[in-house]
């Protein structure tokens, strides 16, 4: 154990405030580390690997659908593929990438903390995530194959009669592990942000990314225990003869849907909020302006999170047993704070000096793509429309607009913070080529699916009727999927090409927040020294004393004689 001191201002501390770290090396270092940066990096690498695995499943699915009666895979294999594609992407990529990967590395540094509040718990989160991922994927190596009841595991399809076999149980077991992993990360994030901020870093000076991660942490604590409990009950139904989700023994199958979506909709915001945060860090930096509407952004984040807990049954409109007006109104209300965010991002760029770096392009791509997904979400939130589009490709297109936006946002985050984490920049030319493949691929991939849905093509089918229109639209979607696959390859090539080639320095983007004040990569326990914190842009204030940030709502020349004194 090391006692960590708060580093004093601007005196490079050679005697105290940091200590040289002589620990184990190699594999033992990886296994025993409690450093949030190493854990976060493990998370990032593992989750990007999951993105590649899930992406491979997706490419197989798209090739199967390129012709109406293809037999690239059997019908049973197709069920396994779409189940595991969704599961890998939602449970093993998007969430862990955001809250275990980038947030784990960046949040403590952004608030001037030496580590997460519970470093050993943080390490445990990673091990539970890794073993959970292995458990879930191990289903492919069992006799009956992997889970095949869809990523939502609806009862009664998921009971022991309809889907017997180890694959389904491994799916449940894997989710128990990753579920606890997420809960521990939620605990860690909230505790870190509430208790380890540097002096002067008040709540309303925290970077928006940190704010969003705080709210994500709280949402995790609200949502994940529900899923974990639901899974335990599902396991009991399968093996111990309880009848919680089966009519025969007096249970209620639709209860599973309530439980699942009570986790599931907050989960989509657990996935989305971190990426909102990343983009909100990136757009101001590359527009060379402070963020437009700082407090409005925080208010929007909070209201999105609060409302997201009251909308779960918009996934269950067609069950006929949910309160349509309540869930419809609540879902439509979420569009308001989401709109505030979109306007604030545009307002930040408005009349800024925009630098179209790869990170910025990816961030703009995120905003556009997310907007498309959000707007079609509003269609789906209206029951009369949803009755026609439920379980069609329209829904598939809706959530792929949203989640592909998250991939764009995640890439923005990697290009932006990668240099801080590794000390080296990525190649911008490859980055921009990657962006265009990813962005165009995403639209070519999803747009035909909207049309397919409106023309009535159901989701989760391996073969479909010989209809020339359906065939053409499916072909376009497959082309889009290929473009997206190529973009991932370009990213891998870029990492290889720029490996340790372009040293980044401490602050390559002239960015605003504390993580850019320390070295790249940051030392053990993160800081040798800290600047005075007087606004939400301490690094900017330090580097540009002549253009220091003003208090919220204050403008130069508007009766504020002491711009260096900032109050909230």
């Amino acid at each position: 154990m090391t006692d960590v001191l708060n580093p004093p201002v601007t005196t490079p501390s050679d005697d105290h405030g940091h200590e040289e770290h002589h620990g184990p090396t190699g594999i033992l270092k990886w296994i025993t580390t409690t450093d949030h940066k190493v854990i976060g990096l493990s998370y990032t690498v593992t989750s990007v690997l999951m993105l590649v695995i899930g992406g491979l499943f997706a490419e197989i699915i798209r090739f199967q659908l390129a012709t109406p009666n293809a037999n690239l895979v059997s019908l049973a294999q197709y069920n396994e593929l779409f189940t595991m594609h969704g599961s890998v992407m939602i449970y093993l990529f998007a969430g862990p990438f955001a809250f275990g990967g980038l947030a784990n590395i960046i949040v403590p540094i952004q608030i001037g903390a030496p580590d997460m509040a519970f470093p050993r718990l943080n390490a445990l989160s990673y091990w539970l995530y890794l073993t959970g991922a292995i458990t879930m994927l191990a289903g492919f190596f069992t006799a009956g194959g992997a889970a095949n009841f869809g990523w939502v595991a609806y009862a009664p399809l998921s009971n022991s009669i309809n889907t017997p076999g180890a694959g389904a149980d491994l799916w449940i077991g894997g989710l128990l592990l990753t579920g606890f992993s997420a809960i521990f990360t939620g605990v860690n994030l909230t505790a870190t942000i509430f208790y380890l901020r540097a002096p002067g870093m008040t709540m309303f000076r925290m970077p928006i990314f940190t704010w969003n991660m705080l709210v994500t942490g709280i949402l995790i604590l609200l949502a994940f225990p529900v899923l974990t409990a639901g899974l335990v009950m599902l396991y009991c139904d399968r093996h111990f003869g309880t009848h919680i989700y089966s009519v025969t023994g007096g249970g209620v199958p639709v209860l599973w849907q309530h439980i699942f979506w009570f986790w599931g909709h907050p989960e989509v915001y657990i996935l989305a909020l971190p990426f909102f945060g990343m983009v909100t860090e990136i757009i101001p930096v590359f527009s060379r302006k402070p963020v437009f509407g700082y407090k409005g952004m925080i208010f929007a984040t909070l209201s999105i999170a609060a409302l997201s807990l009251g909308v779960w049954a918009h996934h269950m409109f067609t069950t006929g047993v949910v309160l349509l007006p309540f869930f419809s109104i609540m879902s439509l209300l979420i569009a308001v704070p989401t709109g505030i965010k979109i306007f604030n991002w545009i307002g930040t760029m408005w009349r800024g000096q925009i630098w179209f770096s790869t990170a910025m392009l990816m961030a703009i791509g995120f905003v556009v793509t997310f907007l498309i997904g959000g707007l079609t979400g509003i269609y789906l939130a209206s029951p009369p429309l949803d009755f026609f589009t439920h379980d069609t490709y329209f829904v598939v297109a809706h959530f792929h607009s949203v989640v592909m936006a998250l991939v764009l946002g995640g890439m923005a985050g990697l290009y932006y913070w990668g240099p801080k984490i590794t000390g080296y920049l990525l190649n911008e030319r490859y980055g921009k080529i990657q962006f265009w493949f990813l962005f165009i691929g995403t639209q070519v991939f999803t747009f035909p699916q909207y049309l397919l849905g409106l023309r009535g093509m159901p989701r989760r089918v391996a073969i479909y009727a010989h209809d020339p229109q359906w065939k053409l639209l499916n072909d376009w979607s497959t082309i889009g999927a290929i473009l997206i696959g190529v973009s991932t390859l370009i990213f891998v090539v870029n990492v290889a090409v720029s490996w340790k080639k372009y040293p980044a320095g401490d602050n390559p983007w002239d960015a605003h927040t504390l993580e850019w004040f320390t070295t790249s990569p940051p030392p053990h326990h993160n800081f040798y020294r800290l600047p005075q914190i007087r606004s939400e842009r301490p690094t900017w204030d330090y580097n540009h004393p002549e253009h220091r940030s003003l208090g919220h709502g204050k403008h130069p020349g508007l009766g504020d004689p002491h711009p260096e004194v900032v109050e909230d």
Binding site: M1, T2, L5, G23, T32, L196, G200, H258, L309
Partner: protein, 130 residues
């Protein structure tokens, strides 16, 4: 501490209201219970923070004029490295495999978890390694 307290209490209040509206309108129990639990998750930590915020003076991180030097001093103990999270993770892995492949996996699984609990706790007392 005040801002933190207000945040959590506010969330609790919102979930409480939503729970009341929803439960009375839909008479559907699963959602009602889950929202009630959401309300508690706002009020319990929120109440705790509020209680503390009234009993302590503003921490350096709550003070907009705090200086770095003013906040200097020991802020906590952080382990340099530890083997116990890994041990516990592998134990939990085996416990979950027991759900699928047979109950005997519980023996090494619970063994590792127990070992990690003991090891981790005593490491904390001893001070552990840097």
């Amino acid at each position: 501490m005040k801002a933190e307290a207000k945040l959590m209490l506010g969330l609790g209040l919102f979930f409480g209201l939503m729970c009341a509206v929803y439960w009375n309108w839909s008479l559907e129990n699963a959602g009602g219970v889950m929202m009630f639990a959401g309300m508690l998750l706002g009020f319990l930590p929120g109440g705790y923070f509020y209680w503390w915020s009234r009993r302590m003076k503003a921490r350096p991180e709550d003070d907009p004029y705090a200086t770095q030097a003013g906040g200097a001093g020991v802020i906590g103990s952080f382990p340099g490295t530890s083997i116990w999270p890994f041990t516990m993770g592998m134990g939990a892995f085996l416990v979950v495999l027991a759900l699928v492949f047979g109950i005997w996996f519980l023996i090494p699984g619970l063994g590792l978890v127990g070992w990690a609990v003991l090891g981790g706790t005593s490491e904390g007392r001893r001070g552990g390694k840097v």
